[in-house]
Amino acid sequence: MDSFFSYSVLKINFNKKFYDLFSIEDALKVFGEFFSSKVNVGETCFVVELNFLDKEGDIVVVKEFCNYVLGLVHDNRHGRAQI
């Protein structure tokens, strides 16, 4: 069934020292309507594979996704803990 669709795959490397897996997964749930995804845990990076149904993929969505992840990292580390 998958062969019916043509995917374009895009990989993003998130440095483990700056980003955490929970934030990435939470962001992926939010952006789930734009692409399907898979996260591989590398030695130094979380490698996020994004599969777009559209061949080109929307690079703006990907950049917004990266920003969203960073926002969640900040919230997890500072926002919720800071009273």
Binding site: K17, F18, C66, N67, L70, H74, R77, H78
Partner: protein, 165 residues
């Protein structure tokens, strides 16, 4: 200046800022980045214990200049570094005030009960209140029991309805 430097990549409309993490720690960089999320796309890389790399990339149709954006980022870094330093200095005082507020609640209650002179309140209850308009009359005292009250209300409503016509 080795503390902070940045490389402009005009071709990609991006700038990479190199930050010495001994001057500006990671949480300061996070806070400054958070402020810039609506103005540009940001990616963090490098080593949090040595050199942090912040890539700022302009958004589509953005009118901002990368150089200005990078320098504003430096200012934001300094702003948060100062805020966190002040916060660290004030932490003992803040904690003391918070503890005093939280743990002295019951003592405050007892203190209030002991110190209040309730006889003043009794004196107030005994005083006659001036009521020139006659407002302070209970409903039952004015209209009697509840059935009579209902009749009076209905008749007053009908009267006002006719007057309106």
């Amino acid at each position: 200046m080795e503390t902070i430097s940045f490389d402009l990549k005009e071709k990609d409309a991006a700038v990479v800022i190199k930050i010495n993490s001994k001057i500006y720690p990671l949480h300061t960089v996070y806070s400054a980045s958070y402020v810039f999320l609506d103005r540009c796309y940001i990616m963090l890389d490098g080593d949090p214990e040595k050199e942090i790399l912040v890539e700022l990339r302009l958004k589509k149709d953005s009118n901002l200049e990368l150089g200005v954006l990078a320098r504003e980022f430096f200012n934001e870094l300094l702003n948060y570094a100062f805020y966190e330093e002040q916060s660290r200095k004030n932490a003992p005082l803040r904690n003391t005030l918070l503890q005093a507020a939280l743990f002295s609640g019951s003592d405050v209650g007892e203190m209030v009960e002991d110190d209040v002179d309730w006889s003043e309140l009794d004196d107030l209850e005994g005083e006659e209140i001036e009521d020139p308009e006659g407002i302070a009359v209970p409903w039952e005292e004015r209209y009697g029991d509840s059935e009579k009250v209902d009749q009076v209300v209905v008749s007053e409503f009908e009267k006002s309805f006719k007057e309106a016509d």
